[in-house]
């Protein structure tokens, strides 16, 4: 199927369990637009998610879906990509799932660099469990669980990804859908692990980082910004306060993890026969 034939209607329309005004709607729409822009048909795409309101996103469009455990979207995504490298694999979850419960997998995934995309809905709060702090909550952010305000230093996923040399690192915002669509499309088309940390308001549980708060701070990186400059990328990644830069912050070229497996050059593992005399060959080692 060529790109001209894929339409947004093919990705379907579903009722959601999201609150009115939720940033997730913008992200879902941008994701669909990006998949269409990439010319991908639903059956070519596998969306893997964890648990949380963001992790429900794959249920709201037509695609192959594995909606797994809290924090574990990345290992499932990696396993699936290693079984069928022809799938376009996207891991999608919230900040608590991707950076908290799944923090170790996040670091390991960036190190491996498979050809997958990571979309994190980052609203700086736990929504589904009703308003506790998340790994990205600002210091001083008061909740029922952190009544005196968050003490811990917030996790900066973009800065961490840059320091780890992730092959594409981007930050987007659900309130700027056109820009976000382009970022997601770029991440999908990038050869390597691509992270898009997507800022979004939680209209119910985060009364600090609101649409207005983001609107006052978010700005697009200049056209002459060079994402291959790692020092500059790190400075840009750390800029999160009065001003928040959006765009592809860092980009580099790295070997793909899956290329080490000769067998994967032949396509999906499910399509490959077990070598007929394979066992006989192996047993010779033990005589």
């Amino acid at each position: 199927m060529t790109s001209s034939q894929v339409t947004i209607e093919e990705y379907g329309k579903y009722e959601t369990a999201w609150c009115p005004g939720c940033g997730n709607f913008g992200i879902l729409n941008s994701l669909k637009q990006a998949l269409v822009a990439c010319g991908l048909a639903p059956h070519q795409v596998l969306l893997v998610s964890g648990i949380g309101q963001a992790a429900k996103t794959p249920h709201y469009l037509k695609a192959n879906v594995f909606n797994g455990l809290h924090g574990r979207s990345l290992p499932v995504a990696i396993g699936a990509k290693l079984a069928n490298p022809e799938l376009t694999v996207i891991a999608e979850s919230g900040d608590g799932c991707m950076y908290g419960e799944g923090g170790n997998h996040f670091l390991a995934a960036l190190r491996r660099n498979l050809d997958i995309t990571i979309l994190t809905h980052d609203n700086q709060v736990y929504g589904l469990t009703k308003g506790q702090a998340s790994p990205t909550s600002d210091q001083g952010f008061a909740t029922k669980a952190q009544p005196h305000g968050v003490v811990a230093t917030p996790f900066n996923p973009v800065a961490v990804a840059v320091t780890m040399g992730a092959s594409l690192v981007a930050r987007g915002y659900s309130g700027m859908p056109g820009h976000l669509t382009k970022l997601i499309a770029q991440a999908i088309q990038h050869r390597g692990t691509a992270l898009v940390d997507i800022l979004q308001p939680c209209v119910v549980f985060n009364k600090v980082n609101t649409y207005r708060w983001y609107k006052e701070r978010c700005y697009e990186l200049n056209a002459d910004y060079d994402p291959r400059d790692r020092d500059q990328a790190l400075r840009t990644a750390l800029e999160f306060g009065g001003r928040i830069p959006l765009g592809v912050i860092y980009k580099t070229h790295k070997p793909l993890f899956e290329e080490q497996f000769a067998v994967l050059k032949k396509g999906p593992l499910a399509r490959q026969e077990v070598p007929q005399d394979g066992l006989q060959q192996l047993l010779r080692h033990y005589t």
């Binding site: 879906v65 797994g68 499932v76 396993g79 699936a80 390991a108 490959q272």
Partner: protein, 583 residues
Amino acid sequence: MSQDIQLLIGGEAGQGLVTIGQLLGKALVRAGHQIFTSQGYHSRIRGGHNVFAIRAGSGPFFASRDSIDILVALNSETVALHRDQLTSRAVIVADTAISSDLPGTISVPFAEFGPERFWNTAALALLGQILGLSSTQLQQAVETMFGKKHPEMMAENLKIMEKSRKWAIDQVPKHGCTLSAGAVTGDRLLLNGNEAIALGALAAGLKFCAFYPMTPSTSIAMELITHAETMGCVTEQAEDEIAAINMAIGAAFAGAPSMVTTSGGGFALMAEGVSLAGMTETPVLIVVAQRPGPATGMPTRTEQADLEFILHAGHGEFPRAIFAPGNIETCFNLTAKALALAERSQSPIFLLTDQFLADSTRPLAPSELKAGTPVKAGAEPGDTETTPYQRYRLTENGISPRLLPGLSQHLVVAGSDEHDQDGHLSEDHQTRIAMVEKRLRKFALLKEETVRPVLDGEHDCSLLLVCWGSSQGPVQEAAAMLRAQGSSVATLHFSQVWPLLPVQFLNILQAADQVVSVEGNATGQFARLIQRASGFVIAEQINRYDGLPFTARYILAKLEKIAGWEKLPVINPNTDTSTGVKS
């Protein structure tokens, strides 16, 4: 005449005792002898007290003996630690620098043969001479290790071996440890339990394995990696066990027959993943090599204490099967069966082994290994009747045709939330009931496929010894020794411990005058499981939980404490070299 020689090499980690043991084992097998080898070691890279045991003779052997006929002491500690196990005919082989006051000591001037790095092969040549192996048989074994890659090393080794052998001909006094010519002909394989698991999985069509290193399971993954490219299998060392099982689930979902390998502590981290496999109906084989717990326990020792944990691990209700091979060939055959059953039942399936079996070897004829037809993952679109495709279509046997994502125009949706037939999440209570019952219906297939326990001996015996997993060999040997003394003793061995079907064993338990369970844990977990499944109470138990494997001698010594079996005549070794235990 039956022959049974127990040899034990003791020393520190790093002294090369495993090399001597493996080469000697290979040479003995090629010379047509039956052998059984096992290992015990401390959790360290250098130092500690490690042993490599070889039992050789007319066999076949399925366990080591406690008593020792040939003790190879690479350090003084070995002499001190094992002196009480020596039989009356024992010889002790030690360097002249190691003092031994024991009769039968052969003080070997290894320094005269060559530099210290060749003492291993010198010891090998000397042991070969004692056991009656020809120098050609030993040389062939050494060649397999050094031959082609390092010809100079090989030449040097051969020189030293010849010196050592000549010394042995002149200096070793008469002893009773020489084997008569080996009687077994034909090609045989020498595999340990973990190698057999790896090969069984590959032969059955394994395409993906993720693992995090943990003793005593690690060597399964290492073995897989050695052969992965030949067999088209992808392997990955995950960042932790949680990642390992989730990767395996992801790979299986996308069409690769998948496995994880771990031990108890690592498996504890996988528990939520087990439940995910149950809910998403994703086939995955989980191999757990047990070691003593709780927590870190005794990392390099053996135990059978994770049965209840594995039976219950994972929240919620879903079917599972647990295999527990009792010897090397069933490690291979049941791994193959388990991988196929995971695919057919779309469920998590377990294989339980332990350090004893992992590190034991026994020669096998290639024909003893049976993998069946390689597993084919998933179904073809023609096999499903629904459009749009419903991953969890309600069916009579609970099994829904499993399409693979990306391999057809159909979309495959799998969810860890309760879901409707299309895979999308559902909070509807009628749907919940239908899905719970659908998943549980798959248990019928697991029951149909349950491996029968094996009765060895008379159906209506005086004493029935019940065991599972790796205890099979020592228990059967103990029973054979009792039968040889005229007692009516049988064994019932389970190589599958879940599901337990009373129809397969209850009448056997009821027919015996007395039933005693033998298991490698402190509380009798399997005896409890038998009671749960069948109502039959096994009152008398022999348990071992010191970290060491069962031996026939250990079982008999414990049996003597059970009413009716006091003062067993069988434990008088000097009248019977097959037990070999000093009185």
